[in-house]
Symmetry: none
Subunit: 247 residues, 2 copies
């Protein structure tokens, strides 16, 4: 679907990560289509796909369900996206920028790249590893004494804010160098990871997961463009060649 403002920014992709109930997938589809979003991606839906509970709950938003694509991992689902937001209800102990739906919507309209917005499973929300993949955290500012936003409600608020920018029809400012697609960044991180495994960087082993997350976070932060990622891969390849000990 084209951005009806005629702008460069494509509408965001809504990624439901390990959704549990088909009914909630349907409700999320309905919420999306109300505000003009049609691209849904599903990462490992608990009850498989298609899910017979989704259709009735979508109340006519069948086009969203029919087009929904299923992926095994978050990385696969967002491989073609240059901007990734992780939606969380509460701020976590992660050092990433936190934005409101309004701020995210503005940023999405202002970029030339494709944006993915991750939503976690109904009960538990996104896991730390899912959040680590994102460049920023999207949080709906909510009553601190009663935060009880369900999946479809979180989706509708994000879609609603996005739709405001479409109506305004303001041409997005062209970003000359959007961040590289996620899969290119992932390629670089994998290359570095291989080198660090070879050089016994991940020690002690029980700290490896946390260390990997730390590295991913700080390498995600820059938003390097494709050329920059290529340059860094060249640096890594160069450092990966066996060298004699320095004199």
């Amino acid at each position: 679907m084209e951005n009806s403002a005629g702008g460069l920014a494509p509408p965001p992709v809504i990624v439901l990560v390990r959704p549990q109930l088909g009914e909630n997938i349907g409700k999320a589809a309905r919420a999306m289509l109300n505000f003009g979003l049609v691209e849904m991606r599903l990462v490992a839906p608990r009850d498989g796909w298609p899910n017979p509970q989704a259709g009735p709950a979508a109340s006519g938003a069948d086009i969203v369900l029919e087009r929904a694509q299923v992926y095994d991992s978050v990385a696969d689902a967002i491989a073609d996206c240059t901007h990734v937001y992780a939606t969380t209800v509460r701020k976590r102990g992660v050092t990433k920028p936190v934005v409101t739906p309004e701020e995210a919507a503005r940023a999405i309209h202002a970029t030339a790249g494709r944006t993915a917005i991750l939503f976690g499973p109904e009960r538990s929300g996104l896991e730390t590893d899912d959040v680590a993949i994102a460049r920023a955290i999207l949080t709906v500012p909510i009553n601190p004494e009663f935060g009880s936003l369900n999946l479809a409600q979180a989706v509708i608020l994000v879609a609603y804010e996005w739709s405001k920018g479409v109506a305004l029809a303001s041409p997005p400012t062209t970003e000359i160098d959007p961040p590289a697609p996620q899969e290119e960044l992932d390629g670089m991180i994998a290359q570095l990871d291989r080198m660090l495994v070879d050089s016994n960087y991940f020690f002690p082993p029980h700290r490896a997961a946390v260390t990997r997350r730390t590295l991913r976070t700080l390498l995600t932060k820059p938003g390097w463009n494709a050329l920059e990622v290529r340059t860094l891969r060249g640096v890594l390849s160069n450092l990966d060649r066996p060298r004699p000990p320095r004199a």
Copy 2:
């Protein structure tokens, strides 16, 4: 509940006119409390009040249901209000101002009087006579090809917009560490540079200055904090140790 922004305007009253299902009353209560609204009024609820279906659907927003007052007519329900909005999905042939949730929220915060927002029955929406009582029509701008907003979703969008104007709803401010002092970044760049010289990265030599500038630019872009720079220096030191060629 006081407007915690300390402003004059009290929070709006949510008036459900002839609501049908108790479940939807509960969902509306939940939507309200998520964004700090607690005063609900019910006009002639179809199945009477209290309704046993409402509680479970409120997911803990019991305070809203307990305080809900029941009225026979819209006129009675809004007798103490100075501003009345009628929520409709589509603009009707009524000569009244039509505002978005955003515009309504701004107006509510800017007035000293009490505001009521009317929502109609699930199936049919507000009748012309209900709309006639209102000073303005509140309409959520929606996908013209798929308008399928349920009662709780309409309530949540209105409550969400109102909450933006309240201090307590301001997004959590993340303490993101400031970038490391320049000399720490320079130290890291110098360390990498030494490694790259050793591995003959800068080739051909006459391109070295440009290549160095490119690397500096992309390593400056992230604005890594002191801890991140230290982490990366650890990575570099690790990679700098002589290793056997990979099998």
